[in-house]
Symmetry: C2
Subunit: 472 residues, 2 copies
Amino acid sequence: MEKLREKIIEELIRALGDPSRILTEDFDLFSYSFDASFGVFKPDYVCQPLETAEVVSIIKLAGMYEIPVVARGTSTSLSGGPLPIKGGIVLDFSLWNTKLEIDPENLTAIVSPGVITADINEKADEFGLFYPPDPSSAHVSTIGGNLAENSGGPRGLKYGVTRDYVLGLEVVTAKGKVIRTGGSTVKNVTGFDLTNLIVGSEGTLGIITEAILRLIPKPVATKTAMVSFDDLVDSGRAISKVLRSGIMPSKMEIMDQHSIIAVEEHALLGLPTDVEAILLIELDGHPLALEKEMELVSNACMMVNARHVQVAKDDHEAAQFWRARKLVSPAIAKIKPTKISEDATVPRSKIPEMFQQLKRIREKYNLHLVVFGHAGDGNLHPNIIADARDKDEMRRAEKAVEEIFETAIRLGGTLSGEHGIGNMKSPFMEMELGKDGLHMMRLIKEAWDPQNILNPGKIFPEPGQGFELSHD
Amino acid sequence: MEKLREKIIEELIRALGDPSRILTEDFDLFSYSFDASFGVFKPDYVCQPLETAEVVSIIKLAGMYEIPVVARGTSTSLSGGPLPIKGGIVLDFSLWNTKLEIDPENLTAIVSPGVITADINEKADEFGLFYPPDPSSAHVSTIGGNLAENSGGPRGLKYGVTRDYVLGLEVVTAKGKVIRTGGSTVKNVTGFDLTNLIVGSEGTLGIITEAILRLIPKPVATKTAMVSFDDLVDSGRAISKVLRSGIMPSKMEIMDQHSIIAVEEHALLGLPTDVEAILLIELDGHPLALEKEMELVSNACMMVNARHVQVAKDDHEAAQFWRARKLVSPAIAKIKPTKISEDATVPRSKIPEMFQQLKRIREKYNLHLVVFGHAGDGNLHPNIIADARDKDEMRRAEKAVEEIFETAIRLGGTLSGEHGIGNMKSPFMEMELGKDGLHMMRLIKEAWDPQNILNPGKIFPEPGQGFELSHD
């Protein structure tokens, strides 16, 4: 066995021609054994490729020895996407951030997989352009990970998610072939949409080595309002009311009372802690239009019993409002050490009911359950704050999360709005997709990766696999 | 053979329980043998299903007897999508227009496959909502066909194409299983994106029996300008210039001099026939913003030598401008009886070069080649006007079309922006996708439809298949 390992290491070094980018020492491997979810799984080898040809060589090697290959950026995944749960080779793409080309004539960006998401928008901004997807981790996550997981973010409401900005991909298949999907045109109906198939497939169908992204002209201005509600259900109604007034906000985020209190205890921003919810609503567009549109938004909110609508008088005050939302995660993380962040998503009209159900689940399992998130598109983030060392609490958390999933699906929603399935949610796939729906996905996986070397153990449930947060 | 046919007819009648929706007479079959492209292929049977269970029964029957099944709406396809080129059963969905439900809370529409595309937007409009995809055939085409071909239209520039408005599908697989893909939430990353895989797959992977579409708030107002250019290449430069001025028009359409002259001869609208191109630019949004934005658009166009910018003073005048664009197709169809409409698409920055190449191709093959289309997203419609009875002219047209495809791909574009591949363009698939890219598509087709009963002979080239317009 040791001999085989040595042989594989030798061949990996030959493939990359650079031993410094092959990591095999135990302490190195350990740093690649976790992400922002719960499992800990050590890879056998870590490679840091810097070009497509290297990825091809590694994949071919993996096929030859039938060992798993798992791509990884900066491992901010909340669902276990980059965990090497069956060992094998981790492809660390975080060094491969060499290409970030903005083409202002074509409104595109060409990027290598290790580019940090926020850097794309920053570079686009220099040309008056805009890359809308904004996962909360954008300043640390890589675009490769965003593509693999189809990341979302607050702007999903108006602008859609990562996949809505992908025109084309370069992909290395399980057989080590390099294919190009899509292209650099907005319209393309030449055969099956492999681009969208690969985006969100969590590295199970191919390894993305380059992407052509779509940019749009940057909105001229934004305007933000903070709206408070005595009744959580009214805040849910406000979302539909605003959208039906003919306005599509660029963001519409919610914080429930537990989030508000946590933030206030953390940072003393002067938020009203006696309200059941705050909606943060951002409009973007031409300044002349924003003024009028914000009036309509205010009226819509007041019609469903908002207590108070406070429109930020300038960008500085708007930034203050958004700071409250940004502080929710750090604030609740201070309460207890273990934060279980879910992204069950429901149709907008079901948000009030989902709130009621979450309240029931909180009480039933006696947990510290906080709700915030992208209310405008139904993508809530129920977060359970717990302590992983408290086994009993973790069991209750597991049961609560299961019930959150079941509730979301029963309300016509989905297991995952933007975090992905990974190994964490795979036991629930059949509940949402049905046996036949899941089977059709499996057929694609088997046809494209018959040896099951690409990120095995993800998306598809393993026989007998249950939902586990504690891994003991 | 006759006996088998009788048996199949009998079983189809049993499956639908309604003989009036099974058509088998020769004159009926003939009316299902063509679309808006060039081939003529008679089906063996036509069924007019009105519910999913009927489609399941028919597919199972087709599998048992190994006969092709081809779905069809109103057959406006320009690439042969609904042609039963290997005979078999045509599923005529045009009667199944029973469901068109707008859900204003969730901003969705649920539709059955036979609903006319324009009816969706009309119904959405009653709720202040908007279904943006607008293929030119929207008033006659069905949504099922639009989904199968991923139809585009002028609004693609700002709003994207059909797939950008599909949240979920009900699909009958080749094995007669009913699956649901996606859902009714905007965000959904639960497993592979089967929704986008099936949209645009031209009925080769499954039969769509219901769709959940995404609607958006209706833009408050629009404003249109007609901009004329002495130099075609300048009109191409104007497109980038406008987009770089921070504005995303809702439509940006081009008519070259040949189109302008044809329309003028047809309808005497007072268009300038001595310019090389006209751009029609529509902005949408809040009226206060439109005023300012139109100024920026005008300035951008003048900076690249526009001869004249005429902004419509009201909606009535705007409608007049758009009438010119709408008349291009009927006007050129009067010149000669055979209209070969292509949709080769190039990156925006290559539009000026594409224009030069099209001019060269026009001269090289001595053809009546007219160019118009969705310039803003690079999706041009080079149209060759010919007479199918003139064999020599048709041969030259075939060669010219081949050269148009080659040129588009060489410029980084695609074979098809919005018309689909069908049987017409399949011989060119490998040229764009490469052997390996096409192979990955074929693997999916084989895994999902191992008997090859779903719309066989489409998308994938048959051995030795060449490009043919004349079919003699």
